[in-house]
């Protein structure tokens, strides 16, 4: 397994065990059927609770039966999940970083007790509703609104492109609070069986097919006061969740690219043309050399991010750089790997084209590549090009 500068040889015992366990689980439980799920456009839902038993949801959080592993261990887990499929990593990212994280960071004690242990075990599923049909890259222009009503709030609006919405028990809905001064964005925990909550599945995806995506409408949905996340107001709420999830994506992209590399290397040493393995041609060697270099430099960035996160020095802009760089890298290298497989690479028997298609989603969600460019531009110049 590619680890060219031996970053993983320096892992602690615990981190290595976590990596090995995740790798073994993915290899035995998920990989054998993932291409079939991808083709069918289904997620292996029976794995949701199994992944919960493994402790794969929000393992870097503390308390509430959660394992509280290091940020490196968490990153390695995301890497191993995405080496199989971005849909698998998305399941863990949404549940852990986008739903459990805001409950853990901004929720009341009662909300934490109610949701975190069950979600950690995968017995309850959550989704994160930020994007709207008319507002993607600029979520602060969201139209979904909450009006104070007797004992709570009434929500109206619609959210789309919501991972896991069709199977979720609860949605974290970000909406403008029309009853407060300045209409701040607030987070609401909306149980999906509430009256007026309508969800539809999005079925026409050509990317991230082994992941369930949906849209939902809120038509006068009442939620009691105790369903509001008390600890946060403004865009800081959703954005801080996204920083957690993007951190995982920066690691995950390395896993997907590594898988592409390993498949391409195996294939190239095996496949013979002109009476010799194609790996003996300089053109193919250049591809492998470049791929390995790109993966290794991205991996270095991910490991550095873990150190910064662990000691509390990680800034969202650091994560933007890593998400932007590593996902672009995986997107480009998946294509190169696919190309090395010739015609066989076009089938679902080999992973690179699946990763390649997945990377189109990963390139777009959690802040598009362009938007991260603008975030970095602002950080480097002090001038915002998008506000």
């Amino acid at each position: 397994m590619l680890d060219f500068v031996g970053l993983e040889s320096d892992l602690g015992d615990e981190e290595r065990l976590i990596r090995d366990t995740a790798r073994e689980f993915v290899e035995e439980r998920v990989r054998p059927d993932i291409a079939d799920h991808y083709e069918a456009g289904t997620f292996p839902t029976e794995l949701i609770t199994e992944m919960g038993e493994m402790g794969f949801y929000a393992p870097n959080l503390d308390g509430y039966d959660l394992p509280n592993v290091s940020e490196t261990a968490y990153g390695l887990l995301m890497q191993e999940l995405e080496a199989c499929d971005s849909g698998l990593r998305s399941m863990a990212s949404v549940q852990g970083a986008l739903v459990m994280y805001p409950i853990h960071a901004f929720g009341s004690e009662a909300q934490k007790e109610q949701w975190l242990p069950d979600m950690g075990r995968g017995e309850k599923i959550g989704c994160f509703g930020l994007t709207e049909p008319e507002h993607g890259s600029n979520p602060s222009a969201m139209e979904t609104r909450a009006e104070a009503a007797d004992g709570g709030y009434v929500l109206n609006g619609s959210k789309t492109w919501i991972t896991n919405a069709p199977i979720a028990d609860v949605a974290v809905v970000w909406a403008r609070d029309k009853s407060s001064d300045g209409n701040p964005v607030r987070g609401f925990l909306v149980e999906t069986d509430r009256d007026g909550f309508v969800v539809n599945k999005i079925t026409e995806k050509l990317s991230l097919r082994a992941s369930i995506t949906g849209e939902f409408g809120l038509n006068d949905v009442f939620v009691p006061e105790e369903n509001v996340l008390p600890g946060v107001e403004g865009m800081k709420g959703p954005l801080s969740c996204l920083t957690q999830a993007r951190y995982g994506i920066a690691w995950g992209a390395v896993g997907a690219a590594r898988d592409c590399f390993e498949v391409a290397r195996d294939y190239a040493t095996d496949r013979e043309q002109f009476d010799t393995p194609i790996a003996s041609f300089q053109l193919q060697q250049e591809k492998l050399a470049e791929m390995a270099t790109q993966i290794t430099t991205s991996q270095l960035l991910a490991h550095r991010l873990a150190e910064l996160k662990e000691r509390g020095d990680l800034r969202p802009q650091h994560v933007s750089m890593a998400k932007r760089n590593n996902v672009r890298m995986a997107r480009d290298q998946a294509r190169v790997a696919r190309e090395m497989l010739g015609g066989n690479g076009i089938t679902s028997d080999y992973s690179p084209m699946r990763h390649m298609a997945n990377m189109e989603t990963v390139y777009t969600y959690e802040g598009t590549h362009d938007i991260h460019t603008l975030i970095l531009g602002q950080d480097l110049t002090g001038i915002a090009a998008f506000e």
Partner: protein, 265 residues
């Protein structure tokens, strides 16, 4: 009730490797928990989860590096571990069944378990004898190649087991405790270590012990066996393709099987 599980870190070679004399350089080796022991650990943890065992102790003979592998057993639910190693063991290039028996016998005397679970065999040196030899030395009853254990029976002081014999034949038998059972793969479905388990395992004890601590000296590991050679066996593959329709092909297969002695009395 206390369960002692013997576990071993086994080495596997990578696809490409080189033999130097009678050893293989570390760079070509990967270490893992012996597959059979994984099933033995699972069986022990299940006894604990069923409320039958109060404590599961893992014991290994291995260098400090092996702690990484032994932690896997702790992560899956064993309560603590004992690891035996010292210079005399480090210096021995082969530990035969007699040496392992002598060491484990002392550990069993110290721990005084009600039941000892070992793997049928180790994936690397493959002697396949340590468990039974240990039972013999201790004067315990034993059952080898166990592929089913009736957990309730254990509580009453007798282990009702199913053993695998040659040629697909199985035997149901009862053994009085304390006893040694050598566990066959497939007896259960070993769990994956969860992240919570891995975290907890970091705080569990792996007690290091030397031969001296067990009241043994270097003589205990003097081997009657000597490693004289190491080589890669030639792999031969010889495939026969039967031509023709199913009838014809089946006839040819039957002839071949008969010729090879299948069905002969």
């Amino acid at each position: 009730m206390k369960v002692l599980v013997t576990v071993k870190e086994v080495a596997a070679v990578e696809d490409e490797f080189q033999i130097a004399g009678t050893s293989i350089d570390e760079t070509y080796l990967e270490y893992d928990l012996n597959e059979w022991d994984d099933y033995a650990v699972e069986e022990a943890v299940q006894l604990q989860e069923a409320g039958i065992a109060d404590e599961v102790v893992a014991v290994t003979i291995g260098p400090e590096r092996s702690e990484e592998t032994i932690r896997m057993a702790l992560a899956k639910g064993a309560d603590r571990a004992v690891r035996i190693w010292d210079d005399a063991l480090e210096g021995a290039d082969l530990l035969d069944v007699g040496a392992k028996t002598a060491i484990l016998e002392k550990v069993v005397e110290e721990e005084d378990p009600d039941i000892v679970l070992s793997g049928v065999q180790a994936d690397d040196d493959g002697f396949g004898a340590t468990g039974v030899s240990l039972a013999d030395a201790l004067g315990y009853e034993w059952a080898a190649v166990v592929n089913h254990l009736d957990q309730d029976s254990v509580e009453s002081g007798t282990a009702s087991v199913r053993r695998e014999l040659e040629g697909g034949v199985e035997e149901l038998t009862d053994v009085e405790l304390p006893a040694v059972l050598t566990i066959q793969t497939g007896i259960n479905e070993p769990r994956y270590a969860s992240l919570r388990g891995i975290r907890q395992a970091q705080r569990k004890e792996i007690a290091p012990k030397t031969l001296g601590d067990l009241g043994l000296d270097a003589a205990a590991v003097e081997n009657e066996l000597e490693l004289t050679d190491m080589y890669e066996p030639e792999t031969e593959s010889d495939a026969t393709y039967f031509e023709g329709g199913p009838d014809e092909a089946a006839g040819q297969l039957a002839d071949l099987l008969r010729e090879k002695g299948v069905g002969a009395q």
